[in-house]
């Protein structure tokens, strides 16, 4: 049986009903992953304990029944989330041998719900990049076209899903890192409201942006995963106190009367490829057909999103990545031939060799933006613009219930295309960083394919804590077969 064609919920139902075992499902996906990974490079490690955990799940399920709708179902986890005793590398040489001494809240919740970690997914180094090309493990290839990127930074997670290597995946999204790879790989990806899912154990890139996001083929799977992950956590002060919604239960409402705002600045942007624009307009038409009221919406500050994001996010990153100094853990390189003091030499050499070019570029950008004499002109000004952007989003979302637009300007681009042009790479984020600046939830929803067979997608955004609404809109599109979950024949 081709288990990859089943939804995660369906797998969970069959495991709970005794029609399948968790061990059989886990073995199936492990084998499939091991066969496909050399070509796709989506997983950087396999979880040694996966089958052991699966057999425990089977025994427990038989005795006590399911702990969640996804009990016993395997999941691929981005290699940025800590799990005690497991290597967590963040795609960096700096952490290439780092064994986390503790477990992230999100991972704890997955384990408590009975999910089986299959392995860790490839990513841009410290989640800095939009193509998975900055990973020390090399780029993840797009299962729909191995010459193209799977996107980034959660490219490994998206590619795992597209190739049918895992039925569920976890990504993280700082500026679009769940949504853009989801769009490029043709899967559903949600970046929740900032603070919806605990960041404890998520290795920080930019703390005020970072958010864990569930990814899957089916909207209902994403909803079920969010249900497990969301909720307050005393170990994260920025985690919201609101309890999780019944996200699966919310997938019922008709869209009659739903106010949809088509973001003109994004839809009409000259960088947007015609096929991407058409996909957005097709989605608008479908929503209208289902009774939604589609109007134009305006985010005039959209054009400032990328520069604002790259000042604030890199500033935070410059501090967050200071801890990698070769003293306490991780990569260490102490030159013996240096003229500097041993201490300075250790830190300089460790950081020079432990980090890749893109990470160093961002650390330097952020350090510069925070430096005496530049702070006001860069960091402080960017914070002000961030507030304006957020206000504009919130105002726009008073006029409409959801905003509709593209995720990225183009479908998946060829590998290496943007590697030597960081600004061009950063512009891939221009429609996604807004949600991170504003802290609002945002979703990438598949929208068919290009003439060349590459996935297309649209972005749906809503006000804070409107995850249920976004999921329902996406669910209605899926129910109407506006998109059909598909596995790439890699």
């Amino acid at each position: 049986m081709q288990l990859e064609s089943l939804s995660a919920i369906e797998l969970g139902r069959r495991i709970a009903a005794g029609e399948l075992t968790s061990v059989a499902v886990t073995e199936y996906f492990l084998e499939r992953s091991k066969a496909l990974n050399p070509k796709i490079n989506a997983l950087v490690s396999f979880e040694d304990r996966a089958l052991e955990l699966a057999s425990q799940a089977d025994a427990r399920l038989a005795e006590l029944g399911p702990r969640s709708a996804l009990d016993g179902v395997p999941i691929a986890i981005k290699d940025i989330l800590c799990m005690a005793g497991t290597r967590t590398t963040c795609g960096s040489r700096m952490l290439s041998d780092y064994i986390a001494p503790y477990t992230a809240t999100a991972v704890e919740r997955l384990l408590a719900a009975g999910l089986i970690p299959l392995g860790k997914t490839n990513m841009d180094e410290f989640a800095m990049g939009g193509s998975t090309e900055t990973s020390i493990y090399g780029p993840t290839r797009n299962p729909w076209d191995p010459a193209r990127t799977a996107g980034g930074s959660s490219g490994g997670s998206a590619a795992c899903l597209a190739a049918g290597m895992a039925p569920l995946a976890i990504g993280t999204d700082t500026g679009g890192s769940v949504r853009q790879p989801s769009a490029y790989c043709g899967v559903v990806g949600l970046k929740p409201t900032y603070g919806r899912i605990s960041r404890f154990g998520l290795i920080a890139f930019a703390s005020s942006f970072d958010q864990i996001g569930p990814m899957a083929h089916h909207v209902e799977d994403v909803a079920a995963l969010l249900q497990i992950l969301a909720g307050p956590d005393p170990r994260d002060s920025t985690c919201l106190p609101d309890p999780a919604d019944d996200y699966r239960g919310g997938l019922t409402g008709a869209l009659q009367g739903l106010r949809v705002g088509l973001v003109r600045e994004q839809v009409d942007h000259p960088d947007v490829a015609p096929e991407v624009r058409q996909a957005v307009l097709r989605a608008a038409a479908e929503l209208q057909r289902q009774g939604a009221v589609v109007t134009d919406a305006h985010l005039s500050l959209s054009k400032y999103a990328v520069p604002t994001y790259y000042v604030v996010a890199t500033s935070e990153a410059s501090g967050n990545l200071s801890r990698y100094d070769g003293v306490h853990y991780g990569f260490r390189d102490l030159p013996t031939d240096s003229e500097q003091s041993p201490l300075v030499a250790l830190m300089c050499r460790t950081r020079s060799r432990g980090f890749g070019a893109e990470v160093k570029r961002r650390i330097m950008l952020g350090t510069f933006a925070l430096s005496a004499g530049y702070y006001d002109a860069y960091y402080k000004k960017a914070l002000k613009v961030r507030r304006l952007i957020r206000d504009q989003y919130l105002q726009a979302l008073e006029q409409v219930d959801v905003l509709l637009g593209p995720v990225a300007p183009t479908p998946a681009f060829p590998l290496q295309q943007n590697q030597d042009d960081p600004v061009r790479m950063y512009l891939q984020d221009q429609f996604t960083v807004g949600a991170n600046l504003a802290g609002i939830p945002s979703m990438a929803v598949p929208a068919g394919s290009t003439a060349d067979g590459l996935p297309l997608a649209v972005q749906i955004q809503g006000p804070p804590l409107s995850e249920s609404r976004l999921l329902n809109v996406a669910y209605q599109l899926e129910q109407a077969r506006f998109f059909v979950p598909r596995i790439a024949q890699a």
């Binding site: 940025i80 989330l81 800590c82 967590t88 963040c90 952490l95 780092y98 986390a100 001494p101 503790y102 992230a104 960041r199 404890f200 154990g201 998520l202 290795i203 920080a204 930019a206 703390s207 005020s208 005393p234 170990r235 994260d236 002060s237 920025t238 500033s315 935070e316 410059s318 501090g319 990545l321 200071s322 801890r323 990698y324 100094d325 003293v327 306490h328 853990y329 201490l343 830190m347 350090t367 925070l370 430096s371 005496a372 702070y375 960091y379």
Partner: protein
């Protein structure tokens, strides 16, 4: 040698106080001193990737108490900032501190002027802010090898950094201020202020203002570190006064001519020496810590704290002076011993003990005994109530001072006995008036020389008579002996 009329020593202090929380500022690790290295650590205070700080609200409460006691404005909104610098004992590469919105704003503290027992001095505070401590680096250079070790037990311990205005003008005043500050913090119980264990750390910023023909010249400000005792503070500042004067006469350098220098106090040599800086530049690139949310402080909570800390050492000294008529010096001695002795005093007075007598007995008998036995007041056999009973008897003339001391000593051994039982056991009896007159008459007959002197107006010899009377009957009251002898001499026996 400088002329002290011409120069003014200008001192500002930065005091780091370790707050007496059970756990660290941003994680649950214990703060206890003295554990084996790196045993009081967790992924959070080790700065492991992905960990997040969670604020210890007890530290905030203690900071508010301290701020209120130091007459500081308490912020309604305070926030957390990252101070970025690389150092091996700083696991995250930044320290979580407070930059532009400290929990405590401007304030002041009045303290006794040691030069003038009646007078007080005043220091203003710029601010006081909360921050986490770094770990401890230990450099072992024995045996010709340079071996550095890091203990992170201390990393993340809550500190309150109190910054004064440059209001202090002498090493003695600096010491007096620190003594009062430590006393106050101990009274509040916000810190144990143990300098040996690093619970109280002092850095001094010091320079000279030289009044030169109507012009006021300021020498470069020097930061003095490694001040491990109040005595060290006093000595280092006195040393700096001389050194900066000499340096100015040699170089003529004034404030702004050279960058701020950091010097370390060398206790053994009795000198300050230039210190190597941690970093070449001090751009700490402060920015708000996105892992923590700004903190709203409820003004009502501050109001409650204000009422709770109303009785500080300064107020208690005044109370002892004005309500009980205790001399400033004596009030100071009692208050300086800590809150429990003040409570002992007040309980004894409330139980009817005459205040001045209680004060003097506390300073002599009680403190001496406590020192000798190492007991605390809580376990002390002579309770405040017993002391009151004893001193009431003395005041009423029922018991003579030296016999009262005997009772005091007796009680130390027999804490269950009351005054009557003690007197019985010690053979203390009331002396019959007629017997006493007879005794005095006998003594006068035996000492004609003393009588002669007394008749000539020289009463010195009466002391010897009192001594002799006590030898014959230990229960006699020396005052009565004196009075009766004088009477008998006047009346010619």
């Amino acid at each position: 040698m400088m002329n002290s009329m011409d120069i003014e020593l200008v001192i500002g202090l930065e005091v780091h106080v370790q707050l007496a929380t059970r756990t660290k500022l941003f994680c649950g690790c214990p703060t206890e001193f003295g554990a084996p290295p790196n045993t009081q650590v967790c992924p959070v205070c080790l700065g492991h990737p992905g960990t997040l700080p969670v604020l210890n609200s007890r530290a905030v409460e203690l900071a508010i108490q301290t701020g209120v006691a130091l007459n500081c404005q308490i912020a309604e909104l305070t926030k957390w900032d990252r101070k970025n610098y690389f150092y091996p004992d700083l696991p995250k590469g930044y320290q979580i501190s407070q930059f532009d919105k400290p929990i405590c704003g401007p304030g002041w503290l009045e303290f006794p002027d040691r030069e003038d027992p009646q007078g007080t001095l005043k220091v203003r505070f710029v601010r006081a802010h909360l921050e986490e401590d770094a770990g401890k680096s230990m450099h072992d250079e024995q045996g010709g090898r340079a071996d550095s070790r890091i203990d992170l037990n201390r990393a993340g311990t809550p500190l309150l950094e109190i910054v004064t205005e440059p209001d202090l003008r002498s090493p003695q005043a600096a010491k007096a201020f620190l003594t009062e500050l430590r006393l106050l913090l101990t009274y509040l119980g916000v810190s144990d202020c143990n300098m040996q264990e690093g619970s109280l750390r002092v850095d001094a910023n010091v320079n000279l203002h030289i009044i030169d023909g109507g012009r006021r010249l300021a020498t470069p400000i020097v930061e003095v570190k490694n001040l491990n005792s109040f005595r060290a503070v006093e000595r280092a500042l006195a040393y700096e006064r001389e050194r900066q004067w000499e340096s100015w006469r040699e170089t003529g350098q004034l404030l702004g001519d050279v960058p701020k220098q950091t010097r370390g106090w060398d206790e053994n040599q009795g000198v300050t020496l230039p210190q190597r800086e941690k970093e070449e530049s001090s751009d700490y690139r402060y920015f708000p810590d996105p892992d923590l949310v700004p903190l709203q402080i409820d003004p009502q909570q501050v109001q409650r704290v204000r009422q709770a800390v109303a009785m500080r050492p300064l107020e208690l000294r005044r109370k002892l002076q004005h309500e009980y008529g205790i001399k400033p010096y004596d009030a100071d001695v009692i208050v300086a011993q800590g809150r429990s002795l003040v409570e002992y005093f007040e309980t004894a007075v409330a139980a009817g003990g005459p205040p001045k007598r209680v004060s003097s007995w506390i300073q002599q008998d009680v403190l001496r005994t406590l020192n000798e036995t190492g007991q605390t007041l809580e376990e002390f056999a002579v309770t405040a109530e017993r002391l009151a009973v004893l001193l009431q008897a003395v005041e009423a003339g029922e018991l003579e001072n030296s016999r009262a001391r005997d009772v005091f000593q007796y009680w130390l051994q027999h804490p269950m006995d009351d005054l009557a039982a003690a007197k019985g056991a010690l053979g203390i009896q009331d002396v019959d008036e007629t017997d006493l007159v007879e005794l005095c008459r006998d003594l006068l007959h035996e000492h004609p020389q003393i009588v002669q002197q007394a008749q000539a107006g020289d009463m010195k010899g009466l002391g010897a008579l009192i001594g002799a009377a006590k030898k014959r009957n230990p229960n006699v009251d020396p005052r009565k002996v004196r009075a009766i002898c004088q009477q008998l001499i006047e009346s010619g026996f």
